[in-house]
Assembly symmetry: C3
Homo-oligomer: 432 residues x 3
Amino acid sequence: MDFENEFSISGDEMFQLIAELYPICRSITGDGVRKSLEIIKDYIPLTIYQEATGTVVFDWVIPKEWNIRDAYIKNSKEQKVVDFKKSNLHVINYSVPIHAEMSLNELKKHLFTLPDFPEWIPYLTSYYNENWGFCISQQEFERLKDDTYEVVIDSELIDGFLVYGELLIKGRTDEEVLFSTYICHPSLCNDNLSGVVLLTYLAMNLLNKDLKYSYRFLFIPETIGSITWLSKHEDTVKNIKYGLVATCVGDSGPSTYKKSREGNLQIDRIVEKVLNDFDEPFNIVDFFPTGSDERQFCSPGFNLPIGSLMRTPYALFPEYHTSADNLDFIQPQFLENSIKKYIQVVFIIENNATFLNKNPKCEPQLGKRGLYRKIGSQKTNILNENAILWVLNLSDGKNSLLDIAIRSKLKFLEIWNAAIELYKVGLLEKVN
Amino acid sequence: MDFENEFSISGDEMFQLIAELYPICRSITGDGVRKSLEIIKDYIPLTIYQEATGTVVFDWVIPKEWNIRDAYIKNSKEQKVVDFKKSNLHVINYSVPIHAEMSLNELKKHLFTLPDFPEWIPYLTSYYNENWGFCISQQEFERLKDDTYEVVIDSELIDGFLVYGELLIKGRTDEEVLFSTYICHPSLCNDNLSGVVLLTYLAMNLLNKDLKYSYRFLFIPETIGSITWLSKHEDTVKNIKYGLVATCVGDSGPSTYKKSREGNLQIDRIVEKVLNDFDEPFNIVDFFPTGSDERQFCSPGFNLPIGSLMRTPYALFPEYHTSADNLDFIQPQFLENSIKKYIQVVFIIENNATFLNKNPKCEPQLGKRGLYRKIGSQKTNILNENAILWVLNLSDGKNSLLDIAIRSKLKFLEIWNAAIELYKVGLLEKVN
Amino acid sequence: MDFENEFSISGDEMFQLIAELYPICRSITGDGVRKSLEIIKDYIPLTIYQEATGTVVFDWVIPKEWNIRDAYIKNSKEQKVVDFKKSNLHVINYSVPIHAEMSLNELKKHLFTLPDFPEWIPYLTSYYNENWGFCISQQEFERLKDDTYEVVIDSELIDGFLVYGELLIKGRTDEEVLFSTYICHPSLCNDNLSGVVLLTYLAMNLLNKDLKYSYRFLFIPETIGSITWLSKHEDTVKNIKYGLVATCVGDSGPSTYKKSREGNLQIDRIVEKVLNDFDEPFNIVDFFPTGSDERQFCSPGFNLPIGSLMRTPYALFPEYHTSADNLDFIQPQFLENSIKKYIQVVFIIENNATFLNKNPKCEPQLGKRGLYRKIGSQKTNILNENAILWVLNLSDGKNSLLDIAIRSKLKFLEIWNAAIELYKVGLLEKVN
């Protein structure tokens, strides 16, 4: 599979799709999710599933569907001092409807700000506790005067559906690679339109390719979405051999890999190798049980081989869950860099293999096969003799190309190229 | 067991008991040990055992009992230039009796000093080699003039007994925790009245508590005492599951844990976790075969799960085995800090357990059980959701609470509290 | 075996032998090798073997034998501008004969220099690709004027033999220690007359000693020599329990140990311990499949327990494979230091053993056996009580003296001496 060259990736295009999705008010249910999934469907043949309010999914129940048409706070001069139309973060996600007049003191019980970042609007939710509230900047808060305010949240909570998108790209085997991302956040870019768009472009590029593994892409609301999906796939998740949760992949920070719960699985070794091969700073962090949908995938009853490859992890950038996680916070170059790492992960998943050196006693004479420099002691870059010797030495039927690349500290691609050369001249045979 | 709060610990009281024991001249046998054990018996119901001189204990024989009434060196003007009554360190422990006149030159063969610390008196012993001598400061030594001296050591070596104290606090099981300390040193505080008093107060606090394990406390002369005790308990030591040798716990240095011979036992993991949880600097050192009674407990024929929790290890503080290891060298605050660590060790021994998450597939909905914040994304300190999620994620029947606390880097108490909360709402069940 | 004292080692003598071998033009075949082996035979009773051109050895064929009488380049004034007699590096090793006139431009295709080191002549070979060429300094190259040059290489490639030397010193068992070095390099000192002479002196000192292991010394041409030897000893190499490739042992750099392919074998632990015990800086590097004959010994079909103990590794000193690797680059003191480390490796191989503490329950009373200081608490250097206690504590039948020395961080010699003392008084018995 030569898909490194076949891939068509543009950080600018990815950024444009984020910009298109940005204004939509999403939540864990509702029309914003439907609209977002329809836009993604223009890129990849998503199947859209829905589960009804009240459905029991493990310990949870699918909540009512939430939709919101408008919301504002008006002062006694009929001026809108807070307006949902300017930012959908202004309303606590899943706020119940309200239409009332109240004093500033009464109103303040329902106002939330970020005093440390006086210009930013916080992002808050109240999915499972009926409540209402407005999120505003500290500056807006301080401008509010003693007055009587008209408070309107034109929302509804009705029996409806939880909606999510799924795409299965079938490979030659039933063994699966799961890529999951969450589509429930409103106007927030890094967290997590970046992950949504990265997986959209990754899937688009894997379509119609000759793949060994089957690739399943999930675009789900966080937590309740993964719980719902797992409750419907209890038996089939055993096919998942590798997986990643895509989130926060557009900011300028170094790549960060959060390991699987087991911590020493193939997916962990592959992602660490990819990050090493990129010759850029990166961080590896052990699994922890807060975070995104890996919380569910890696719950002890599933314990799937799934990590999360991001840039700056959620909650470690101050813009996280605020209006500052906007289109200025992400950049095309970082989106492009991130997807290239995902592609390289897929490349290793597809191409890792174990070979057997058919000439295991002493080195074979590489020179007569054109695989060695002609004049001894001269340095040469024509052939990567070093990679060739590593592959020959370690291909005893136990070490995979990934093992060899890790031990030799050479890039996976160098080791893989060397193996291909050796296989062509008959010095290697494939094991299983 | 809520014994953190039930414990009554006062560094000042501990210090007072040390001050009471300090003047007594102890050795590996003799009345000083008896008197010291009687004082301790006012605090805890020690049983006092004795073994007769000549008894064979493994490769050793219990020596004659040594007692001393007085000792001095007088010059020709009848002035006492060295006086045992001023410091019992002045006589080499186990010196045979002598009453003679001799020249300074003759006397000097029996005088020992510390030239590097000219004001300090060294502490020396000659248990198994009949000899006599005086230990004096270098300053005293240099003041001695050419003269004829009367030398008196009014001691006796007789067929008697080796005496030691033991207390077994029975728990609900026969599995034992051994705490051992040595009571053979004369007027020396950190080494080892600090250890003696720490175990006295620890035992006092465990009395009448509902304990899972049985706790055995030994107050023995070093080396010959542990050899004697082991020779009488060859078969029952198999019940010992954890143990610590208490020594040098009153100085200002950081806590130091000397691991068991195996180095990776539960006692080692527990003490390391306790030291981590205290958020103070500390040292962990591998087992080495010099030191105190762990030399015997960890001899290859026993290899017991016993380490030693101290502050500055013996021989690493210059005051060690000198008159400078006095009441000024230790402080109530350090004694109190040390015993709190011992208590925390007991707390983990008693409370560590393994649970099974009864809702292992995905997270349970914590909110409906009052275990989760109501508004998403808001930080809260009311509940330690982080600890709760760690316990749920790792309680797969294999990880103990200690394992979870170590992996999560949260304090054992936080993990234990979270487990209790989860157990109360029926989300955990106990394994075994 | 008390051979530390029996060894007669002189860095000056070793250096003299290198100086004697230095001028000879060696290659992987030819009279230079024969002459070198005959000189070594004056020191140790080498057996000299030969294999005919055309013999198939695994994937390789023994090449034609190469000899060279003379070579030069003359300018039109009959001046020799390059003269093989001045340095045998001037001719590419294995150059085919040529006698021709040519222009400077034509000649330049066959001239090789080191622009970064303008005074040095490079060392190049063309064993398996018929070719000819001259190696000269960049300075010489730049002095060449447009002219017609007479080019003479009076060499021959004939059906002959590959020649190598071997010495087996029989010990009490058939288990073998293999020491291998390569004798194919012409006038180059560190790489590898240093290795050749080190093994000559090591073998000389092991002759007529009472040895447990059998010691096999190989003086072979690199690569083709080890392949040839292995092809003739496929079945018997299983007797090899330890081995080292000796190369680059005369320069001023710190000792470097390149581990066996497995990386955690006894030979690896022994050499690391020896380097630690010398209290000098050193480096340990993992196995890599470039280098010297360990490439063949550690090919996956053999995977022998062989590492390489050198000083600065080949290719990491700029003088490597140039005329600057001359008699000035090595020094007697470094040769002597290197061979002492090899001797210490042999010492541990011969003397490592596992003992059982016959008094495993508590410490034995060392004092009554004269193995302990008489007055307690006094420091003493007369006996190494520390080593004695380590040996007693860890001699449970599982730990070897090497294990104990590594764990205690004491020198192997200290541990071995303590074991001898304890064995003499009957406190240890030998296992197996």
